[in-house]
């Protein structure tokens, strides 16, 4: 995708670095507004970034 550090991504999303880390490691499911911000930032459909785990 992009060669961004967690801190860079956190700054662009206006969240803490810990939040980015928790999302990346699957310890936190982002809210819908944050998931949409992430999708907009990466210019990708939301379902290509987040997958349902049955």
């Amino acid at each position: 995708m992009r060669d961004w550090s967690q801190a860079e991504l956190a700054g662009r999303l206006d969240v803490s670095r810990q939040a980015v880390n928790a999302i990346e490691t699957g310890k936190h499911d982002p809210s819908l507004p944050l998931a949409f911000r992430i999708a907009r930032l990466f210019e990708m459909p939301i379902e290509e970034i987040f997958h349902d785990e049955p």
Partner: protein
């Protein structure tokens, strides 16, 4: 977000965000300290009848409103993960309080424990809150 902030890199924006939060926390801690000192001082004046009770109640109410306002404002400033960590820690602390208080009252009623102490229960609840918050922070989610 201002156009100046948008022109910054994400890392610079994150640093700004962190600094803003630290300044805000320092301000709230200072305000809390001043509020505590003022109500303590006013309380002493009431006991010596140097301050009318309605004035003390007014001051107490102002400090209480400031406390609630700052708490609400803090939760609106932090991101959703921090908010969740705080809410989970608070929920666990409330459960710990009711479990401890209920148990202590029962043990006291059957004669195997001293009378429940508000200070001890308050400290226990605060300790439970800190432990739950720290556990969330080290990744126990």
């Amino acid at each position: 977000m201002t156009s100046h902030e948008q022109s910054l890199s994400g890392e610079a924006r994150l640093k700004q965000r962190r600094n803003r939060l630290v300044r805000y926390l320092a301000l709230t801690l200072f305000a809390g300290f001043i509020g505590g000192v003022m109500t303590g001082w006013a309380g002493r004046l009431v006991t010596t009848e140097a301050l009318p009770v309605p004035l003390f109640v007014g001051l107490w109410l102002a400090v209480l409103i400031a406390f609630v306002w700052f708490t609400r404002d803090y939760f609106r400033r932090v991101d959703e993960l921090e908010l969740l960590d705080n809410l989970w820690a608070s929920t666990i602390a409330v459960y710990a309080f009711f479990a401890a208080a209920g148990s202590w009252f029962v043990f006291h009623d059957i004669g195997i424990a001293p009378p429940p102490s508000g200070e001890a229960l308050g400290l226990f609840t605060f300790a439970a809150l800190l432990i739950a918050y720290a556990a969330r922070k080290i990744g126990v989610r």
